[in-house]
């Protein structure tokens, strides 16, 4: 169904009604991902009153770039954009917008769900707090959050939470309604309440079960980043949305307010609930391309960015659960780095096609919002990966 047909009448017809129960499924996600505020409680990430960081426009024709595409006969960027359920797509080259396009009905000022790219934002916010001395990756999680004593987080360090190496039992299967991650959705208010299941994020985090040692194997567990959000709020004494506004959104010169979904007790969904405009996502990428400086201000410590680009542990990744589908990558401080590409791009990635991609050699940032019909369709993810690299390399080669 075309997204423009969803939720358009008063009331919506049953076939076009987006609800908490269907908001993550296609086609309803096409309306829901840019209207989360209409469905859930949210914390506002204020852009402040300062000047917007300007993004000069220098349009470039990218549609004709050809790449090896798995799912399309016509393997061009133009075709990828037409058929990839793209809601927002912004490409920066050397700090200028060379390409900007929105999907059906989406407008540039509309914040769109980031899913797990939220994690990369939480990671960089952690770097800022470490620089201030409020946090240290060597800190013990349960020293900061005694509430988690007796859970999987016993003995875990902040570093393990940052790098997804907490030893725990967890099933992150987005399509199984009884998986651990489905119960995370229930706790966050992203799925209807269930009898006996925790009805808030913090109670849910405490139910994680330990399995194996910490620090040895990459194991993608979204809950880790909700624990990280909790840690950030505990040590800063500030709610996540306000802190993000103060430490990143205002100083980087964001153009629009962002917002994050909250559970029924006000806990932010920091593993996936941040909603931002595509242009501001591109600014966030540019901030990292510029080693943490944006809008004339030092925002994220350079050492933190350098560390996540260079110091991930390849052996930990290779033992982990993403190595078969994403060989040759690293994961550190909530960012991925692709070692197979000679440019070593870093990126954040979220289900249904959300991404921010930073190629430091080509000087390229790509911000993408999408609503793939299913959470992790390897075909679409592979296309995205290939399209981004093709665009970055093509721009790198242009004068």
């Amino acid at each position: 169904m075309e997204p423009t047909r969803l939720m358009r009448t008063f009331p919506a017809t049953p076939e076009t009604q987006a609800t908490i129960a269907n908001m993550q499924e296609g086609p309803f996600n096409r309306w829901a991902f840019r209207n989360l505020r209409r469905m859930l409680p949210t914390g506002n990430v204020w852009r402040g009153t300062g000047p917007v960081a300007p993004l000069p426009v220098a349009h470039s024709y990218l549609e004709g770039i050809v790449f090896e595409c798995a799912s399309l006969e016509d393997s061009t960027v133009g075709s990828y954009l037409d058929h990839g359920f793209i809601d927002g797509f912004v490409v920066l080259h050397r700090g200028r917008i060379v390409f900007e396009r929105y999907g059906d009905g989406v407008e540039a000022h509309e914040p769109h769900l980031l899913m797990s790219v939220t994690k990369s934002v939480a990671g960089s916010l952690t770097g800022i707090l470490c620089e201030r001395g409020l946090l240290d990756p060597a800190m013990v999680v349960t020293d900061i959050l005694p509430e988690l004593a007796g859970s999987a987080y016993d003995g875990a360090l902040l570093r393990h939470v940052l790098d997804m190496t907490v030893g725990m039992e967890y099933d992150e299967n987005y399509e199984d309604p009884d998986s651990d991650v489905a119960l995370l959705d229930v706790a966050a208010g992203w799925r209807p309440a269930r009898q006996g299941a925790p009805d808030n994020l913090r109670a849910y985090c405490a139910t994680m079960r330990k399995a194996g040692p910490h620090g040895e194997t990459f194991h993608y567990v979204s809950t880790n980043t909700d624990v990280l959000g909790w840690i950030i709020e505990r040590v800063s004494g500030t709610d996540f949305a306000t802190l993000l506004s103060r430490e990143i959104w205002q100083p980087m010169g964001a153009e629009f307010d962002a917002y994050i979904t909250l559970d029924r007790l006000g806990a932010p969904q920091t593993d996936g609930g941040l909603c931002v405009t595509t242009r501001d996502l591109a600014r966030f990428g540019q901030l990292h391309l510029q080693n943490g400086v944006m809008n004339g201000r030092r925002i994220v410590p350079e050492s933190w960015i350098r560390d996540f680009r260079e110091n991930g542990d390849a052996a930990v990744w290779d033992r982990g659960n993403f190595a078969p589908t994403m060989p040759g990558c690293l994961y550190r401080s909530k960012w991925y780095t692709d070692l197979k590409d000679p440019h070593r791009p870093s990126f954040g990635s979220g289900i249904h096609g959300q991404s921010v991609f930073v190629d430091p050699v080509a000087g390229v940032v790509i911000a993408q919002h999408a609503t793939h019909p299913t959470p992790v369709d390897p075909k679409y993810f592979d296309d995205t990966n290939r399209a981004f690299k093709a665009i970055a390399h093509a721009l790198h080669d242009r004068p």
Binding site: M7, F10, P11, A12, Q17, A18, T19, I20, R37, R38, M39, L40, P41, T42, G43, N44, W46, H109, D257, L262, R264, L265, G266
Partner: protein, 383 residues
């Protein structure tokens, strides 16, 4: 202590909850757009020292009254100049605060704009625009009946009764826990089940769902959502300082009787827009005839035989605003549960916006609030 969607109306939660509603409930943004802000000149008129006579015969200064723990904000405009402003409970100028039934006056004025544009007529039938309400209390009712709260129906709007009709509406929009299994969990199911007691057009009967239905009528007539209409027709042209936020139910329906959240100064601007006859900064926003009509007041007999005559003698109700006929200045104002109001005294050229989280006896608190309004207007008028 956690403030949640289902306890935020109760003290002490309301002291935080009333200015953090988007963190508790789904909301739609009422965008202020990118146009210039309606700048308010500032001049402190020294009102803090103003002595106000209270019901028990004692006196207190405005500054003392403002410091009460259940007052979140007050802003006073005199001839459009911001002459007094104070906040409480950690509320700041950038925060939006729930308006409760002051929302209804926004819905009413928006109706006036759309009627002025011909998108809607006062004698349009509600069920022609909202067929889903056929067979409900709204059969045979017109837009004007909604505007003036003269729908004939059975409804108990008792805020202290946990099983009143109003309590079931609160639960239907997610503001209270479910009262019993199977009770409506969304506004439309609740409203469609309301039953009438015709005729319409009789006595004033304050029924909050009427203003929800009015909001939905505006959406149906235009094909635009209430938040977008409010943005396009009032918030942007008026030059609101901050986005407002409208609460939605579990089915994305607009809560247009009590769910609007605005910043204090923007509430004052909304009042000033009415004091100025509907035009501001050279832009006509509300038809002057509409405002003249509401200032003239509603049907006095309807009021005197209605549900609020004993509590507020000498008043009337028109187009979702109250008019005080007992006062020589004939001020008109809005009133929302727990002390939300914007008060316009056209003779004293004064507007007072007030946001609160009244926790004590509501009647006493409202009495003090109106005494405050009258004392401020009198002082600024030079009496």
């Amino acid at each position: 202590m956690s403030v949640t969607a289902t306890n935020f109306q109760d003290a002490p939660h309301s002291a935080w909850g009333f200015h953090h509603v988007p963190e508790l409930l789904p909301t739609a943004a009422v965008a202020r757009g990118s146009g210039p802000v309606w700048q308010l000149l500032r001049r402190d008129a020294g009102l803090g020292a103003l002595e106000i006579a209270l019901a028990d015969g004692s006196q207190a200064t405005l500054a003392t009254l403002n410091a009460a723990p259940d007052i979140d904000g007050i802003a006073v405009l005199h001839r459009g100049v911001l002459v007094h402003e104070a906040y409480g409970n950690g509320m700041e100028p950038g925060d939006s605060h729930i308006l409760m039934s002051t929302t209804k006056s926004f819905t009413g004025t928006l109706a006036g704009i759309l009627i002025g544009q011909g998108a809607l007529a006062e004698d349009d039938r509600v069920t022609d625009l909202l067929p889903a309400l056929k067979g409900s209390a709204y059969d045979g009712a017109t837009v004007r009946h909604l505007l003036d709260m003269r729908i004939g129906l059975d409804f108990s709007e008792d805020y202290d009764d946990p099983e009143s009709d109003f309590a079931f509406m609160d639960a239907a929009c997610g503001w209270r826990p479910s009262i019993r299994p199977g009770a409506p969990d969304n506004l439309e199911d609740f409203i469609a089940a309301m039953r009438g007691r015709p005729p319409h057009g009789g006595s004033f009967h304050y029924v909050s769902p009427n203003a929800v239905v009015l909001g939905w009528v505006l959406e149906a007539a235009t094909g635009e959502r209430f938040a977008d209409l409010l943005s396009r027709l009032i918030w942007q042209p008026m030059g609101a300082e901050l986005d407002a936020h409208l609460v939605l139910d579990s089915r994305d329906r607009s809560q247009t009787e009590g769910g609007l959240n605005v910043a204090l100064r923007d509430l004052a601007r909304f009042g000033e827009l009415h004091r100025l006859g509907g035009a501001v900064n050279g832009r006509a926003i509300v038809p002057p005839a509409w405002i003249a009509d509401l200032c003239a007041g509603g049907d006095r007999d309807a009021w005197n035989t209605g549900t609020m005559a004993a509590m507020m003698p000498g008043h009337s109700y028109r187009s979702q605003w109250y008019i005080d006929h007992g006062h020589p200045h004939r001020p008109f104002f809005t009133a929302g549960a727990f002390g939300q109001s914007v008060f316009v005294d056209p003779v004293a050229e004064t507007v007072v916006a007030r946001l609160s989280c009244f926790s004590g006896d509501q009647e006493t608190r409202f009495d003090e609030m109106f005494r405050t309004f009258h004392a401020i207007a009198a002082a600024l008028h030079g009496e």
